[in-house]
Amino acid sequence: MSNYLYILWIPLLPLATFVLLGLFGRKYLSGIAGIIGTASLLTSTILSFVAAKQYFFVDGKVNGVFQKIVALKYTWLEFSPNVSIDLGIIVDPISVMMLVVVTSVSLMVHVFSLGYMKGEERFATYYAFLSLFTFSMLGLILSANIFQVYMFWELVGVSSFLLISYYFNKPSAVAASKKAFIVTRFADLGFLIGILILGFYGGTLDIGLLIERFTSVHSTQFLSITSASFLGASMLTWGLVLVFMGGAGKSAMFPLHIWLPDAMEGPTPVSALIHAATMVVAGVYLVARMFPVFSMDESALNIVTYVGAASALFAAVIACTQTDIKRVLAYSTMSQIGYMMFALGISKNGGENGLGYMASMFHLFTHAFFKSLLFLGAGSVIHMVHSNEMKDMGGLRKLMPITHIAFLIACLAIAGIPPFAGFFSKEEILTAAFHENKIVYGIALFTAALTSFYMFRLYFNIFWSKEAPVAAHGHDDNGHESHGEGPWVMKLPLLILAACAVGVGFIPFSQFVTSDGAALETHVDVVFSIAPVVLSVLAILLATSFYKNQNGKSDKVAAAFGGFYTAAYKKFYVDEVYIFITKKIIFPFIGQPIAWADKNIVDGFMQLLAKTTSKISELIKGLQSGKVQNYAMYFFGGVAVLSILFIHIWK
């Protein structure tokens, strides 16, 4: 087995950058913070490409099957000889694939931010947080122990919190960051309980061992976890569903998705990195990481499937009505992650039935590129227009040609038009769905059409629709002359990512990343792909007729949908339901009684202790007279008493 220890440097370099910039950035390095961050990440990116090349092309494969390699294992916290929390690095197809995705998208975002965040007061802090996020995400990917996954999971959550509230003097950003943190923390509680259940029955926290024990039907661990049951479901189902709950929280699956649209309050490159390409797919990655165990339990997989499919459809419908371009993209992200989730849910482990797994990972891979491209494109647009609202945009195609082309490519990619990247991965998801579950296939097909519709609604509203706005030539809020498309550091990532959005679909993904490591024979059936492509094209044409020019057709259709349109515009009142539940049920019936008990019983007990202590000290404080001779008297008295005791009683 060859040496993969250098992979350790990939997460450690961003960590070092975080420490450096976090401690000294604002005072000493604010001018070059961006360069430092980008340079260290560039090194990480190169290393991860080296690792990917070594793994996929040199020595990862043994007898045609990609091996799972544990590159590093260090026993960190040992509870008993069998149960310990290890820190390890796992190298297998999905972790290497994610390494490449995370480092390259993060690098693009770092470069883009050089232009986008220029002149911000807390520029160095921004890069420190970006590095912290990159470190945690890379750590999450490489974790070989489920508890290690959990630790990095929380780190990712906290860095997301820090970055959403980057504009901390904006109340909405503060509220959004709190919401994101609390909702995902709530989901993580489920994750933690799930880990404990799996760890308790599996007798280990090591992912490899857990998989080994829970996938052999005759192992004692498997028998004990399936025979134990709670509320009618086996403990295996409970454990997996709770782990999935954590994943659903991070991946913004219905009904834990409410934080994601609000998280768009953060700087746009952050949204591109965290809330589009990397952190939100952590849930998918988690399910994929534990997939062999999930595949042993039909009901847990069904939950994954239906939650994924429901989120995909639900988010797509909402995305059609939103007017804030970042929110449209947020809902589109949620919808695409729903795709990945149900693709995992319908998959089987190993062999040709593992198509869904492979398709899901493929979609994760392609989605990361075109969705970060969409967000960075939106970032360019926002940078220029200084607004997130569609009504402030329109006709920008002449003002920002590069952004326009890149955005168009990304839209075509997400719509699944050949030969762009999204086509290939979506096609495989649809094929897998078609073979396994016709209902899900129907939902997926409909969602694909909706996706094309809302993406082109967005595209036409930004770049066509109206004549070029006057504002772009005028002055912005700060009185500066408005800039054009931005400096080259903002255009370059768009171009690179656009090239990826065109190109990555041609990677023969089924040869590399599969559920069991063995290459998969897949072919995109031309006949099969007619239906989704035709639907997408029709949806694009519909969007063209609605939004290319302002003609009021869309308003008429919206009016025809009436209540449904309003409901979708209001995001189906999920936020209101949450507020109702928390304010009207949890606060008065659970929160207030607990607060009362805390104030009166818990605090009361402590108050009693304090009062007793102070009463006693009132009584005896006279002994502390401040007179040295009194103290000497006590001392001699004590000695005298002791000597009497020794002499007469103790002998």
């Binding site: 006279g622 502390q624 007279s625 401040g626 007179k627 040295v628 001779q629 000497a632 008297m633 001699f636």
Partner: protein, 104 residues
């Protein structure tokens, strides 16, 4: 020459000890108190020497202890006097009754 019995020597040392103790409790002047402490230390020294000589004439442990105690007492006196000088600087008095900041 008639040898002095041990009990008489112990009487002297006990008397010395309680004289010292009396001085320690009654005097308010720190220097006098220090002197009283020295008296008590010396009564201990007498005890050591006497027991060594009368009970274990072959050993020298008691003598050596005495030597050590004398040395330590010298050092202790130096430290104590330094403290007293500092006290005088801050309180302009070496009366123990005047330094009662540390009371409750």
């Amino acid at each position: 020459m008639q040898e002095i019995p041990l009990s008489q020597i112990l009487f002297v040392s006990t008397a010395l000890f309680f004289i010292g103790m009396y001085g320690l409790f009654t005097r308010r002047n720190l220097i006098t108190m220090l002197m009283s402490i020295e008296l008590m230390l010396n009564s201990v020294n007498i005890n050591f020497v006497a027991f060594n000589k009368y009970l274990f004439p072959d050993n020298l442990d008691g003598l050596f202890f005495t030597l050590f105690i004398i040395t330590i007492a010298a050092a202790e006196a130096a430290v104590a006097i330094a403290i007293i000088i500092n006290l005088y600087r801050s309180h302009h008095s070496i009366d123990v009754e005047d330094a009662t900041e540390m009371k409750y």
